[in-house]
Amino acid sequence: MSDNPTANFKQVHHSVTKIDAKQLALGKDSYVGDLAPREALIVKMLWSPHPHARITSINVSKAEKMPGVKAVLWHGNVPRNIHCTAGQGYPEPSPYDTFIFDTKVRHVGDRVAAVAAETAEQAEAALKKITVKYELLEPVFTIDEAMAEDAPIIHDEPEAYVPIPIPYDPKKNLVAMVGCEAGDFDQGMQDADFTFDDTYETPYAQHCPIEPYTSLAHVDSAGRIVITTSTQVPFHCRRIVAQALGLPVQKIRVIKPRIGGGFGSKQEILLEDIVALVALRTGRPAFWQFTREENFITGRTRHPIRVRLRAGIKKDGTITAIGMDCWNNTGAYGGHGLTVVSCCGSKVLPLYRCDNIHFDGKVLYTNLPVGGAYRGFGATQAFFAMESTIDKMADAIGMDPLEFRRQNHIQSGDSSPIFAALGEGKEGTPMTIDSCALDDCIAKGAEAIGWDKRTDWRDKTGRYRRGIGMACLMQGSSIPHIDMGGASIKINEDGSFNLLVGATDLGTGSDTVLAQIAAEELATTTDKMIVYSSDTDMTPFDVGAYASSTTYLSGEASRKAAADAKRQILKTGAEILGLPVDQVQCVASHVQNTDGSQKVSYGDIACYALYSKNQYQIIGTGSHFTEKSPPPFAAHYAEIEVDTWTGLIRVLQYVSTIDCGTAINPALCEGQTEGGTLNGISYALTEQYLFTNGRMTNPSFAEYHIFSMRDKPPIKAILVPSYEHSGPFGAKSVSEICINGPAPVFANAIYNATGARLYEFPFMPEKVLKAIQAVKA
């Protein structure tokens, strides 16, 4: 960037204080659980103990008579409307395969019946009085079992269908299929000097927001249902609850207060239909908060995916072919199945230049926990395969893996056939890369980790061996032609502004980021912004917080709304100053003439417009959708020490560089990067679902280990500047990309330390030890 547009920024590109930080640090009532009234009924759910069964009879009469019980809901007394719980655009690229309650249960932790009572203890006591008879059906636990010739059919309900024209064949447990070809893959493999064909497996994981899923509903004085919920998708929530309950959207209001983390898990409607029904039936507020165990067994998870990666390269390092086949286990319901597997291809394959590409994705039902959206969204799974194979390629031709990546990665001005070929349930959108600072990311990260000191594994001896690994990554910024965000902004007498956004801050700091963007556009300061997000009655529409869209997409909507308000402020300011509008400008919360000798403050302009003359409300609106999804880029590095006697890995240092375009708020961008990276580290090293007959046996933080402050290795986040011209003030996305790095980085570091190559994680000691022993043998 010869001219540096970021140099003049006064609000964006500064680490402005996060606007809700103080209220949260003071512990003020902020989250759904803090807002529940004392008289709220408590909801508890009876979950299926079986992975696959038909409910032949269910008797709730005893439960209904239990003390304190106000409602019991089950398949016999609720509407039966097929829908999808995934919070996505409409119509969804996911099957409608879910009822509020069904006569069949499809995983351990599927809904059977709900009780609402005065207290949690009473609700739980009543659950025990519900008698259910099950006809047990043969369960399906693996992708191979799901695809077998005469596999049990998990979704045999006749109502199931997918609302867009894509393949869906529930009789074969097939949720979706997607594929694309560019060039001639077979020819590319033939032209190669070296070929690779490896299969990688990525495991289940849960997002583990510290605030579990939580929802509250009441019926207001006008008879409308008000749902206050911990969601990433308030507008989709309204639409889906309306669909499930068979009510008009108009009857429902969804409010999102502060959210205690989501990471994708709360892009799903799992509680809201039930609390709404209870409130409707009883006239009482209804509150439901998952236990930690419920968060694991019935909350959404990361889809486990098997990736077969085939590739060919020339001796000079040219990649002649890449073929990726993905099998996605979506568990008992199909939400996000297709889109996650599509992102395995669309967010990964474009990273390296290659003319001959094959991609094939299949999504299958099993009787296991349900996959959903999880930060990284398919890219995490596929990057493990891709970046492991990239290291193998470099190794095969005796090239430094860093140099190999540098030689092959996509650059500004490049395109990829994948952008046009792979979208979300439809074709993608062609795109040329504008900003790309991946070279800088690679260089800065290499320096920070000390790449120079990296030596070949064959030169290492002794019990403890150190290794350095790296990976390059990309993601996207929103979904082109699908995502949309809206904002409005109005002025108050003192020159403050109400910024109303549908975008959903779930702890990321997006309210602050959007306020900075609006303030920059309006030439005022961020502290003048009163931000409200998000409330389906009050704020403009936004698809919600997912697909790394908020800064890039909702940010541009906020900028446009601010620009709209600014035009009105300029006009009124010019009128007050008695100057033509083309001779005034906005500077430091004032409208002034060119030399600043005549000026009027925003507060005075607001008072004039509201009270004095030609009265009107200065209010700007903006909405935005995108033509492209510019990828942020990242290079990750780690130095680890492997105990070759036990297989234990110690992470000595982790470096996470990122090119997110203009960092609107550098401190928050670093925070996103550090947090996502540690989540990825924890996923790669310790997090796992253990199953016995489809039941997760370790549903607690005692047994499902997420990293604590003691576990945390030193993480160095490095923001590498670039400028994305299509984004607000040059910004791209930041939130998701960083979680993709640790698994391949560690796999490559383990190889560099020991010569052992692992194709599945978490890299638990016994797994690593086995691989090391295989090298020695």
Binding site: K18, A21, G27, R38, G261, R292, G671
Partner: protein
């Protein structure tokens, strides 16, 4: 509705109060019911720390303690620490350092840090980890929480050695 109402008396944020409870009620539930909602429910199993309060100056998981167990003891919650006009030093550092993301873990972190600052005079990294290890955060990667805390502790330690 109450099956077996009992009363429990303890000091909460400096005030002696009596509450109706039941033998099986957890301290966290009592506190939240009575409006001390800064302590959060994250797991109910003593594994996440979002419910941390101080009992006689020691950080405890209020989700594990029965309300009856705190009879006669001194309980302090986040509500006793800082105000909008006058946040505590650690709160201010967290705010300034961009260490508060979703914030759900933060009150618990602050209570553990309070116990650390009140009970120790020397804050080597290992001691800090010891006190803070029971508070999980899924958003921040702990980097900014750690450095905010370190800034406060370093200042405090410098003062301690001076005086």
């Amino acid at each position: 509705m109450k099956k077996n109402p009992q009363t429990v008396q303890f000091t909460i944020n400096g005030e002696s109060k009596t509450f109706i409870t039941e033998p099986d009620e957890k301290l966290l539930d009592l506190l939240r019911r009575e409006g001390y909602k800064g302590a959060k429910f994250g797991c109910g199993q003593g594994t996440c720390g979002s419910c941390t309060v101080l009992m006689d100056g020691r950080a405890v998981y209020s989700c594990l303690l029965y309300a009856m167990q705190v009879e006669g003891h001194e309980i302090r919650t986040i509500e006793s620490i800082g105000t909008h006009d006058n946040p505590s030093e650690f709160q201010q550092e967290l705010i300034d350092g961009g260490a508060v993301q979703c914030g759900y873990c933060i009150p618990g972190m602050i209570m553990s840090a309070t116990a650390l600052m009140e009970n120790e005079t020397h804050f080597d990294d290992e001691t800090v980890r010891e006190y803070m290890d029971g508070n999980l955060c899924r958003c921040t990667g702990y980097e900014k929480i750690w450095s905010a805390l370190r800034r406060v502790l370093d200042r405090q330690e410098a003062q301690n050695t001076q005086s």
